[in-house]
């Protein structure tokens, strides 16, 4: 009797203790899974930056590649990537934002919304090399000859438009469209319906509501999406392989030609293409140059993405609802 009244009725039974131990074990196993993800990544990044350390300096970023990339810096590829990003943003930002506006404000809950949703998901899942093939088929082989028929003089080769910044920007724009649409849609959806209803009650038209209330309040989400697009455009290789990127191109070492080295209708150098070629196509390429290029590219992407994350956190803190 004594034992019965002294026993704690809420104490865990043998069975429950076993289950609790298993739960704790599983928790650490799952933490181990996370560690498997994080630790090799950190190790790999450290390895790359350590091997690239002898090369990284301000001059490395400011000079052009010399001797097929075995010496010199990364200025020309950096500029190419920069202009590629700007070019693709010019096309993708307006179209993507307006498409999301249409889906969220004008065509809600309809069959058209569902179809657009499916096509956005499909577009997001298209392999990057297929985007490259599309770029070749649509822009290089269809759009360029059409433009050349109007613009180019068959006897003067310098007026002929070639695959370059324009075609590559368009290809990357098509590739990034789903990202902008999805993030803008999320941002627009986060704006409470009450805001819109209040506007309509005051007599505003749909477009007025969108441009004065909805868009400004969803700016944080839209900006985040656009910054994600920037990092994707900077890192992708397959779509620009055949639509305009080239490995070797003369770029001025000083003067205006250094800041604006590429015209929209000629091939350009890009960081991702540069890394692709110097990794295994140039004989006797010093290891540190390869790791240097990889380090700069990773650094650039991580910087852009961290900026996006910080922007998102800051803007979310500023929200007034």
């Amino acid at each position: 009797m004594n034992a019965a009244t002294n026993a704690n009725p809420f104490a865990a039974s043998e069975f429950e203790q076993r289950k609790n131990r298993r739960a704790i074990v599983m928790k650490w196993v799952l933490f181990g899974f996370c560690a498997i993800l994080v630790i090799p990544l950190v190790g790999i990044l450290l390895d790359i930056f350590i091997k690239a350390a002898p090369v990284l300096s301000f001059d490395y970023l400011w000079e052009n590649p010399v001797n097929k990339g075995k010496q010199g810096g990364l200025w020309a590829p950096l500029m190419g990537t920069f202009y590629l990003v700007i070019g693709s943003l010019l096309f993708v930002a307006p179209i993507g934002v307006f498409a999301a506006v249409y889906m969220n404000e004008y065509a809600r809950d309809g069959w058209i919304n569902r179809i657009i949703g499916i096509t956005v998901t499909s577009l997001a899942g298209v392999p990057s090399i297929v985007h490259g093939l599309f770029g070749v088929g649509a822009f290089v082989l269809f759009m360029l000859p059409a433009i050349n028929r109007v613009v180019a003089d068959p006897n003067d080769r310098s007026t002929k438009w070639e695959a370059g910044l324009l075609t590559a920007s368009l290809t990357i724009a098509v590739m990034n469209l789903p990202v902008v649409i999805a993030s803008t849609r999320e941002a627009l959806g986060a704006v409470p319906q009450a805001f819109r209803e209040a506007c309509w009650n005051l007599g505003a038209t749909r477009w007025q509501t969108i441009r004065t209330v909805v868009l400004p309040n969803s700016l944080s989400g839209i900006l985040t999406g656009i910054i994600l697009v920037v990092s994707r455009a900077a890192g992708e290789t397959a779509p620009i392989l055949f639509t305009g990127a080239t490995f070797f191109r003369f770029v001025e070492d000083q003067g205006w030609g250094k800041i604006f080295p590429y015209r929209p209708a000629e091939p350009f150098m890009a960081m991702s293409m540069h890394l692709n070629i110097i990794s295994n196509q140039i004989s006797q390429m010093p290891e540190k140059m390869k790791f240097g290029c990889a380090a700069v590219l990773i650094g650039l992407i991580l910087f852009i993405n961290s900026f996006a994350i910080m922007l998102r956190v800051w803007l979310r803190g500023r929200k007034r609802w």
Binding site: T246, F250, W256, N280, S283, M285
Partner: protein
Amino acid sequence: MTTYRKTLSLGISAVTALFLVAQTPAADKKVEIRAKGSDTMVQLATAWAEAYRKVKPNVFVNVNGGGSGTGIAALQNGSTDLCNASREIKPEEKEKVKATSGKEVKEYAVAIDALAVYSNKANPIKEISVEELREIWAEGGATTTWEQVSPKFKGKIALFGRQNNSGTYDYFREHICGKKDGKQREFRPGISEMNGSADVVENVTKTPTALGYSGMGYKTPDVNWLKVSNKKGEPAVEPGADAARSGKYPISRKLYIYTAGEATGEMKAYIDWILSPAGQKIVEQEGFVPLK
């Protein structure tokens, strides 16, 4: 307009104006020559282009790879001025160039290349014959391990070749795989097809049981090459300038530049410079064999 908007629009128009101004052609006539084609020659062509800029600073030579086949096709559709090729142009390809551009193809032999057979530093075997190479590389060939070649080394042979539109691939297949029942033998399946001559050598350097073919200009101190004889038992010859030129080395070839029609103006000056001692010195520096 507020000052804010004024300065903003002024700033944007200034940057746009600068951008547009930068598009106007340079004061001194900038000449662009496009060279396209062989991956074997791409480093050589780039070295020529960089050196020629010191000779004539307003001439820009844009070099692209893609394989000899792509270069010849570019010649056919007029999208290149010079075609670098590591194999001879075929008669039907010549016809096509004549049909689309109306001009005859002009051939300039610019260097000599010996196709070296590379092996890893760990491999003690020093020479091989064309017959043995045939059994290693051709479809249906009998040799798959190093023990079958010589008891000095063990392991499965890891083969590294070039991608299938390469002139080097074509040349090696024609001269090493030979013919069977009157038909050209293909390569055996299971050969790694590397993009670019340097890639082949790098992989052979990293893989102990490797065997690969590439231009002799891509040799590095970290890799061996085998001496090649025509038949087993005959004296084997090392790839080298004299052996390639005299034909003693069994797998040597000429490197060509093709143009549609006779080269004129800046293009002719460039080709003449390539054939001059200055250009041929660069051939030697890149590891190939100058013509003389």
